[in-house]
């Protein structure tokens, strides 16, 4: 009898232990472990959802930061800004969160918010300068512009500054005049060499055929090829002007691409928090 009772109580204890284990994987500690695992697997949306579940039970700034980072890395900048903004000023993570907040604002092109960022956060100041390079506002004088950048960053940023201030644009009027004088040269001016050659040939051949037809008193054919020659000549001038605009758009595009590539390499000047190590 005693042994049966003992067995009964031992089994009851085991049952309680197992029940504790049933809800164990949903405990804040285990959820946090699982969320960190998801974050390190780059499964950011799931990680953010897990961190948010823990928030319901505890209110830690670390969690706000992790949720913000999860949303930031998955491209959800608006949500990331919200969570970075929840970290209080007296928190140890406040400075980190502010920098991440302004990084989110920069990535979502809210440059007016970045402008409001405090200048004693060097990364934010650098981001603001890059927003000027991306066309937010007029560039500052070079010395003032380069001030927040490190010594090893200055040569590259200085190059970006020069490219923005004096972009290697082509001139539309120049292209039009060149094309009017010698068909095809307007296109060659914008580095469309083969287009220029074909524009020259098409205008030239039509004009020559028209000339020989008129000389042989073939009036109809003469006017026909003269019309075609005019058609190609007009197209050549128009196309030269259009090619200048496309060329200049390409200059802007390549500059923006280089800027974004540089910023990505630098993680937007904000320290990277790798808690996956």
């Amino acid at each position: 009898m005693k042994n049966i009772l003992l067995l009964f109580f031992l089994l009851l204890i085991c049952q309680n232990i197992s029940h504790a284990q049933v809800s164990d994987i949903y405990s804040p500690g285990n959820r946090n472990l699982f969320a960190d695992f998801l974050y390190c697997q780059k499964d950011y949306l799931r990680a953010a959802d897990e961190y948010k579940e823990i928030l319901q039970q505890s209110d830690l700034d670390t969690l706000f930061l992790k949720i913000g980072l999860s949303y930031l890395k998955s491209g959800n900048y608006d949500s990331s800004s919200v969570y970075f903004g929840k970290i209080k000023i007296n928190s140890l993570l406040y400075d980190n969160s502010r920098q991440e907040y302004y990084k989110s604002q920069f990535l979502s092109n809210h440059f007016e918010e970045v402008e409001k960022g405090p200048y004693f956060y060097k990364p934010v100041d650098k981001l603001y300068k890059f927003s000027l390079l991306l066309g937010y506002k007029q560039l500052l004088p070079k010395e003032k512009f380069l001030r927040p950048f490190e010594v090893d960053e200055k040569p590259i940023v200085s190059d970006f500054y020069d490219r923005k201030l004096n972009p290697p644009y082509k001139n539309e009027l120049t292209a039009a005049v060149l094309a009017a004088i010698i068909p095809g040269t307007g296109k060659i001016y914008t580095k469309n060499y083969t287009d220029g050659i074909f524009a020259f040939l098409s205008t030239g051949i039509m004009s020559y055929i028209s000339y020989t037809d008129f000389k042989s008193h073939h009036q109809f054919r003469g006017w026909l090829f003269a019309g075609l020659g005019t058609f190609f000549y007009g197209g050549n001038i128009y196309g030269s002007i259009a090619s200048v605009q496309i060329y200049n758009a390409g200059v802007n595009f390549n500059l923006n691409l280089d800027l974004k590539s540089y910023l990505e390499n630098k993680n937007y000047f904000v320290p990277d928090y790798d808690f996956c190590k």
Binding site: K42, Y238, A249
Partner: protein, 149 residues
Amino acid sequence: MIKITVIILFSVICINAQTDWVKWGKVDYSYQVKQQSPQRQYSISGDNAGETALRTLAVGYWFFISDVDGDNCPFSPTCSSFFLQSVKETNIVQGTLMFADRFTRDMDFIDRFSHYPLSKNRHFYDPPSLYTLNASKIKYIPSGESVEK
């Protein structure tokens, strides 16, 4: 060897985890295959009499000539569609000049890959919006890049 395999597998997992950055649900995919060649719009209705007349000519050209002489235009949209869209976006004179320029570029068979992006049907993507002389309408796409059009 195992480490490299694990690293590659991990990288593949990481890259593929990006599909779960947005919540998704069930997709009703179809076994059926889409037709390969794009279907033309043969409507002749336009906003005004001029556009209707132009569309009638274009549809006539498509029906009796273009649909019969094969797929010769390397560009997307085709030259005839380019002309119609150019006139619609600008006016008859400017549209004609845009078409003349397009015709010249069409003759240039050398080195297209270094000038134009590629459309879905493997033609060179060359929309009229690049040539309206309105710089704000230009959406620059680098050459060789694929476009979902």
